[in-house]
């Protein structure tokens, strides 16, 4: 694990070193960091601050400003429920609630066992399929509440098959 982490930091460093200029690069670096680590914990923030020669408070300030960045680790299975207006008027809130009930967790958190994250997402722009969700990158459109248990089962089965 220790060794792994080192490799990840090295990957981030080589990206930062390859930038033509460090000026204004913070957001691109944070994107890369999230790509590499999956989330941006304190240690990574401090590391980025060092490398870019800016205060850690600035890194934290920028990171928390943007909803795309996260400081907590996401679950093994990631459910994103589109909460754009088109999905909302077609019942996305009910879909989100059903996931909360069936997985016994709150939206916009990761379940304690680390198996699931359920998030309400900004519009993904597939309004023709409203309400739409993605589970581990796979889309499910024109959903009704009763589809949720099947999707959960399918996701677990797919993981098991792997």
């Amino acid at each position: 694990m220790e060794k792994n982490e080192k490799a990840l930091f090295a990957e981030l460093d080589s990206y930062i070193d390859s930038l033509p200029s460090k000026q204004g690069a913070l957001i691109s670096v944070l994107h890369k960091a999230q790509d590499i680590f999956g989330f941006i914990p304190k240690e990574v923030q401090a590391h980025v601050a060092d490398k870019l020669d800016i205060p850690a408070s600035k890194v934290y300030g920028v990171l928390t400003f943007y909803s795309f960045f996260t400081m907590t680790k996401k679950g093994d299975n990631r459910v994103n429920v589109c909460m754009g207006t088109a999905c909302f008027v077609r019942g996305a809130d009910k879909i989100l609630e059903k996931f909360e009930r069936d997985l016994n967790m709150k939206a916009n958190t990761t379940r304690e066992d680390g198996l699931w994250s359920v998030d309400g997402l900004r519009c993904i722009g597939a309004c023709g399929l409203a309400p739409i969700i993605t589970v581990n990158g796979k889309s499910y459109g024109r959903l009704v509440v009763d589809d949720v248990p099947g999707i959960i089962e399918e996701t677990l089965a797919a993981k098991e098959a792997k």
């Binding site: 204004g24 994107h31 999905c87 909302f88 008027v89 722009g125 023709g128 889309s139």
Partner: protein, 604 residues
């Protein structure tokens, strides 16, 4: 362009990919190979056809047949029937919901009849990942004209003469913006393309970038030439991975073919474009916030003046336009400003792309001349409201816009008319709502969005909108007081007047417009503690009437086990079911389970 006998166009936009167009492509290839005609057909994944509701869409040339909701399992039949025998596969044709007729061509459909494509002209026509396709439809001709035959001022005068106004929402005349960019002298200037399409329920810009990325790049280079900039940046949402990929591919190809880079077409003009990913902040659609974000800062708006055309990106003169605005530019140069001005209204020439969604039959991406009425958009292009429900409102302009009621449906849509009726054009999101949508709840939904997205820089927006949200929340829970309605109006006006940027200036619009047009619903919540649409959970009760036949299906689906057979006896001696109101979480799961012919469960 493509010399094979047959061309098969598959919509490769995000919407159609979500509904499975990639599987359709694989299945088509397999079927073509199986029948030994793979080399007779070219398969092209093109940009959005617009009719997202019916995706994945497959179009077959030369006879221009439009197939809808095609699945992988249909491909064998498409190949054997259509391609080999020349017969239409009727079950995959669009059937008019009104006349029941089958439509072979897209122009037979009411959805397309009144549309006019300028910004979307090449979407669904060219392969966005192949620059030669774009050359084939006259691509980069406008840039050649701009570089060889026109002075900087002539380019700007042409854009001015076209009357083009910024499609991002505010409607500022594009030519004037470019003029400021030219007039402010500096060695270094920038062109920015605002592709931070943050409105929930809007996907116009994404579709243009996915379907016709070269048009945007070409226009940015023209803008660069016009003001004397040599660098362009596309600021795009990270949530649009496909658009990002296609743009990057397009930039690499344009460089390879000498359409971007140094000494473009031998003119001595240099122009380079790169893509910058946003990180999920709605306020970054505001141009000065966007510039801060580009510089790696929190996306907080700057004070204006100085305007970006004076001191923008890295304090240099910067011209920033929206994706759709750029997409109109090449045609204005090649066809002339008078051609462009013949469409639309006097003060808002041209067309506008809208993302039509919500409670509407034909969800999709549409482009219509300015001045088209909302009624035409909803009932002709949109095909009306599904499931026989009644129209209630159409929301334009996203969280910055307002809700428009039935009485204003005959207004022709342009920048000025929409503002006059308390909404705004915005970037072009249009969400249709029906009788089941509660307008208080909708206003609350939008305000929750703005409260979350407010950058926090100025007090009226940060605190004022939070207070408005709290009041709305109270009202939706049945705790509202009559004076709340007065306070909402006052507070809304103060926030509009005193916020620094466009986000705060427009945030109260959804509340103010619903107060204006749907006061009766607010009154029902406040005075009678009722939600007429049955959407505000705290104000509704699910009840089982005497029609109950004690089948017990509802009790089986209740997640909190609050439905029990404790009522009177039915004819066959069983006890009727009753909902325990204290335990009920109002999830509504029982409602659709009660057999329609019984209909014992009601919402009050």
């Amino acid at each position: 362009m493509h010399k094979t006998r047959l061309q098969i166009l598959i919509c490769g936009g995000t919407g159609c990919i979500s509904s499975g167009c990639l599987e359709v492509e694989d299945a088509l290839v397999a079927a073509l190979e199986k029948h030994g005609i793979r080399d007779e057909a070219t398969i092209l994944k093109v940009g959005c056809f617009g009719f997202c509701e019916q995706g994945p869409i497959v179009k077959i040339y030369p006879d221009n047949t439009f197939y809808v909701r095609v699945e992988a399992k249909d491909c064998e039949e498409l190949v054997t029937e259509h391609l080999l025998k020349g017969k239409h596969v009727d079950r995959l044709l669009f059937k008019s919901p009104i006349t029941g007729e089958l439509c072979h061509h897209h122009m037979d459909m009411a959805f397309y009849k009144t549309q006019l494509r300028i910004a979307l002209m090449h979407c669904g026509m060219v392969d966005p990942e192949n620059i030669e396709d774009y050359f084939g439809v006259g691509g980069y001709e406008a840039l050649a004209i701009a570089l060889n035959d026109m002075t900087q001022q002539e380019i700007i005068d042409t854009v001015k003469a076209s009357g083009l106004r910024g499609r991002g929402g505010a409607g500022f005349p594009t030519g004037n913006k470019w003029q400021f960019g030219l007039d402010n002298k500096s060695d270094k200037k920038y062109i920015i393309c605002n592709a931070d399409e943050g409105d929930p329920g809007a996907f116009m810009d994404r579709s243009i970038m996915e379907g016709d990325p070269h048009a945007v790049l070409e226009a940015m280079a023209i803008a660069g030439r016009a003001i004397g900039a040599d660098e362009g940046v596309v600021y795009i949402r990270a949530e649009y991975p496909l658009a990002v990929n296609r743009l990057n591919t397009a930039i690499a190809q344009a460089k390879k073919y000498g359409m971007l880079g140094e000494n473009i077409m031998g003119s001595g003009f240099n122009f380079d474009v790169h893509v910058h990913l946003g990180a999920g902040a709605f306020v970054c659609g505001e141009e000065t916030a966007l510039i801060n974000s580009l510089e790696g800062q929190r996306g907080e708006p700057r004070l204006r003046p100085p305007f970006p055309a004076q001191k923008g990106y890295w304090q240099q003169p910067t011209v920033n336009c929206n994706v759709e605005t750029y997409a109109c530019i090449p045609l204005i140069l090649t066809k002339g400003p008078d051609w462009f001005k013949q469409f639309g209204t006097e003060k808002s020439p041209g067309t506008k792309v809208f993302a039509l969604a919500g409670k509407i039959n034909n969800v999709g991406l549409i482009e219509v001349p300015m001045g088209t009425t909302l009624r035409e958009i909803i009932y002709e292009i949109g095909g009306g409201i599904p499931n026989g429900k009644k129209f209630k409102a159409i929301q334009t302009g996203g969280p910055s816009g307002g809700c428009i009621s039935e009485k204003d449906l005959d207004v022709g849509v342009d920048f000025d008319t929409l503002t006059a009726i308390g909404s705004m054009m915005g970037s072009g999101g249009m969400i249709v709502m029906d009788e089941d949508d509660c307008m208080v709840n909708i206003a609350k939904f939008y305000l929750e969005f703005t409260v979350e997205e407010s950058c926090g820089k100025c007090t009226p927006c940060r605190i004022g909108n939070t207070r408005m949200y709290e009041i709305l929340d109270r009202i939706s829970k049945g705790l509202g007081k009559p004076e709340d309605l007065v306070e909402l109006k006052e507070l809304g006006q103060i926030i509009k007047d005193s916020s620094l940027c466009g986000l705060g200036n427009t945030a109260p619009n959804p509340v103010l417009s619903t107060l204006e047009h749907f006061m009766d619903e607010y009154e029902a919540h406040v005075l009678h503690k009722k939600c007429p649409a049955g959407a505000c959970k705290d104000l509704v009760e699910y009840k089982i009437t005497e029609k109950c036949i004690a089948c017990g299906i509802c009790a089986k689906v209740c997640p909190v086990d609050c439905i029990h057979p404790t009522g009177e006896e039915t004819k066959n001696g069983k006890k009727k079911y009753v909902i325990d109101q204290d335990a009920c979480i109002k999830c509504g799961a029982c409602l659709p389970k009660c057999p329609p012919k019984i209909g014992a469960i009601i919402v009050e």
